[in-house]
């Protein structure tokens, strides 16, 4: 297995895509999800491991890359870098952009490495537990993921959950897997095969995002001077405890189905702000701790997000949902048996997380001049190119023109959803999880004698199911307006 993992061409692909990923993440308007959905289609004809190396590299580089735009432009290149801009940009304004980028790079690498260690240790443990999971547990886990992504990532729970439901519905289109009967296909042969989720992804993350970006053609010239871009390992030692704490937050939040690096970074930032006594510079004005915490957490979340995806087949965030789609396309089946059925792929993902972060350490300290040039490529050139890539990508899956039309359709739907403040990530997660959620639900209710009461009794009398149910109830309650208002009142009374 080691010879496969240490294959020079695989490492070369990983390195190349870590490098490219940094620039994708750094450019406002381009996202890691957009890059990975395009990569799924372009690497479709590749062997599984090189395809995986490309996507993993783009993810590691992209999540880090977001910090550059956050620090230099005060525009987070990715959602995971929102918290980074809070202290990163004030540092850059003080002429310390080089130091800020160096700290962000070291923190990201540390977070990524710790995330990889926990993935290596945690995945086998979770797999063993997951072997005891019944269909109802998979149903509950899937629902938990959708509820979380629906409520945490949007301004309104109902809008997030609504888009997740649309996604689940799209996933039911086609021939029923059990009875073979048509559902919502209206006799159309294309629809009988179901809507390809890669086409949905390309429409929602590629085309619709390009259209949204074309509404505002601002260019962001880098005005900050960047020098002193050297790693300060000794200086970073004093943030060791914060690094470990933020990494653990990152891995834990990342591992929750449906959450991701953006939420992990914000929680880690909030924790750092609350627990750091006497920072040299106040938070929000250029505190180094305010940079270390989110950057460590968002990269640690990558390793965390892979744990539920590889062991349960439930993705941790939108990007791992896309990578789950890629694994399925290449005939790999993530789940409790993934490690025994596909040891090479599992080993490569874990090793790739380590090696990718080593490359991040190298590439993070170079190419800053290239970055300032690339970030200034006008959107009016870049975005039509993204639309063309989405067209090429959607055709590449089945060599079907119909897929291009569907991609365009989803692009327009995604554009309208974004315009009216509906999140699109739950829709993708819904499409991908639809089969597992529906099949688990149907198996679970069959086992309960097709009775709703029997199904509920099964849930409350089984410890794993009960824990999952309680978690869902707690999460739903904590996101409710009632809970939020009660907390606000308490805070005001203090």
């Amino acid at each position: 297995m080691l010879s496969i993992i240490l294959n020079p061409s695989l490492i070369g692909i990983l390195a190349l895509f870590v490098f490219l990923g940094i620039y994708v993440g750094a450019m406002p308007g381009l996202s890691v999800s957009m890059a990975c959905s395009l990569l799924i289609s372009f690497t479709f004809s590749w062997e599984p491991l090189p395809a995986l190396a490309a996507m993993l590299g783009a993810q590691i580089g992209g999540v880090y890359g977001g910090s550059r735009a956050a620090i230099l432009l005060n525009i987070p290149g990715t959602t995971a870098a929102v918290a980074t801009s809070l202290d990163g940009y004030p540092l850059a304004k003080k002429g310390l952009a080089g130091e800020a980028i160096a700290v962000a790079t070291l923190s990201s690498v540390m977070g990524g490495l710790i995330g990889a260690v926990i993935l290596a240790i945690g995945a086998p443990l979770i797999s063993n537990i997951a072997l005891k999971f019944a269909p109802r547990d998979y149903f509950l886990l899937g629902m938990m993921g959708l509820l979380l992504v629906g409520s945490l990532g949007s301004e309104s729970n109902s809008r997030g959950i609504f888009t997740a439901l649309i996604g689940l519905f799209i996933g039911t289109i086609g021939l029923d897997l059990v009875t073979g009967q048509q559902r919502f296909a209206f006799g159309n042969t294309y629809l009988m095969g179901g809507v390809n989720y890669v086409v949905v992804m390309l429409g929602l993350f590629g085309m619709s995002e390009a259209l949204i970006q074309l509404r505002d053609l601002s260019v962001y010239p880098v005005k900050q001077k960047v020098d002193n871009l050297k790693p300060d390992f000794k200086g970073h030692v004093k943030y060791f405890v914060l690094t470990i704490k933020s990494s653990l937050i990152g891995v834990f939040v990342g591992a929750l189905p449906g959450t991701g690096g953006d939420i992990a970074a914000l929680i880690a930032y909030d924790q750092a702000k609350r627990t750091t006594k006497n920072p040299e510079v106040p938070f929000g004005e250029g505190a180094i701790e305010g940079l270390v915490a989110p950057e460590t957490a968002n990269n640690a979340a990558i390793g965390g997000a892979y744990i539920p995806m590889l062991t349960l087949g439930i993705p941790g965030d939108a990007v791992t949902a896309i990578i789950l789609g890629a694994l399925l396309i290449h005939g790999l089946r993530p789940g409790p048996l993934f490690m025994t059925e596909s040891p090479d792929a599992f080993g490569f993902i874990v090793a790739g997380n380590f090696i990718g972060n080593i490359f991040l350490l190298i590439f993070g300290f170079m190419g800053i001049k290239l970055f300032t040039k690339i970030v200034e490529i006008p959107k009016y050139i870049l975005m039509p190119t993204i639309i063309i890539l989405s067209v090429v990508g959607s055709y590449a899956i089945n060599n079907s023109i119909a897929d291009i039309y569907w991609m365009l359709g989803f692009g327009i739907i995604g554009y309208l959803l974004k315009l009216y403040h509906f999140p699109t990530a739950p829709l993708i997660l819904g499409v991908i999880l639809s089969t597992i959620i529906e099949q688990s639900f149907r198996r679970a209710v069959s086992m309960a004698g097709n009775s709703l009461i029997g199904f509920i009794i099964d849930i409350v009398t089984n410890p794993i199911s009960l824990i999952l149910l309680v978690a869902i109830i707690f999460m739903s309650f904590s996101q409710s307006n009632f809970w939020k208002k009660t907390r606000e009142k308490k805070l005001l009374n203090r």
Binding site: S156, R159, F169, R183, P384, T385, Y395, A396, H421, R442
Partner: protein, 158 residues
């Protein structure tokens, strides 16, 4: 957090979602009534459609948390114009039209020519004065796409 105001056409969009929920409910019930057991092929979509209707109703209720709903006495035609202007600001409408034409023309004239024209016309739409520059950039981008995807990624182009 500061309240945001409702976007132009947001209420209409929410009503379209309500309608979508109702249509899916009607379609689901037709499948479900063939076999009313919980594990049947119609049960899951049926439950989803009910939840969709509940969520769309909640979205309507939640409208009160945003700044005033636009209930001015503007004529319907003016309102429709405002919605269209919000959805298709600046060059978005011409670009969308170009995308549709590109999709229709693509299978007939092939990838290279149609992509070159789509990209050139898109760039010219944004910068009408830089025609030569737009043509050169388009030729360059199409060339790069052909080299990368046909020879490196070995992707079949449309």
């Amino acid at each position: 957090m500061k309240k945001r105001g409702l976007e132009k056409g947001e209420v209409t969009f929410l009503l379209v979602n309500v309608l979508l929920g109702i249509i899916l409910f009607i379609l689901s019930i037709q499948i479900y009534k063939k076999d009313t057991t919980l594990s049947s092929q119609g049960a899951f979509p049926f439950i989803l459609s009910i939840l969709m209707m509940v969520m769309s109703a909640l979205m309507i209720v939640e409208l009160k948390k945003y700044d005033k709903v636009d209930i001015s006495e503007k004529k319907a035609l003016v309102k429709i114009r405002e919605i269209i202007a919000y959805i298709f600001p600046g060059k978005i409408f011409p670009i969308m039209t170009l995308i549709v034409i590109y999709a229709v023309v693509l299978p007939r004239v092939g990838f290279t020519i149609s992509t070159f024209f789509f990209l050139s016309l898109s760039l010219i739409t944004f910068h009408p004065r830089d025609i030569v520059k737009s043509l050169l950039i388009s030729a360059g981008v199409v060339g790069v796409i052909l080299v990368i995807f046909q020879y490196i990624f070995k992707v079949m182009l449309p």
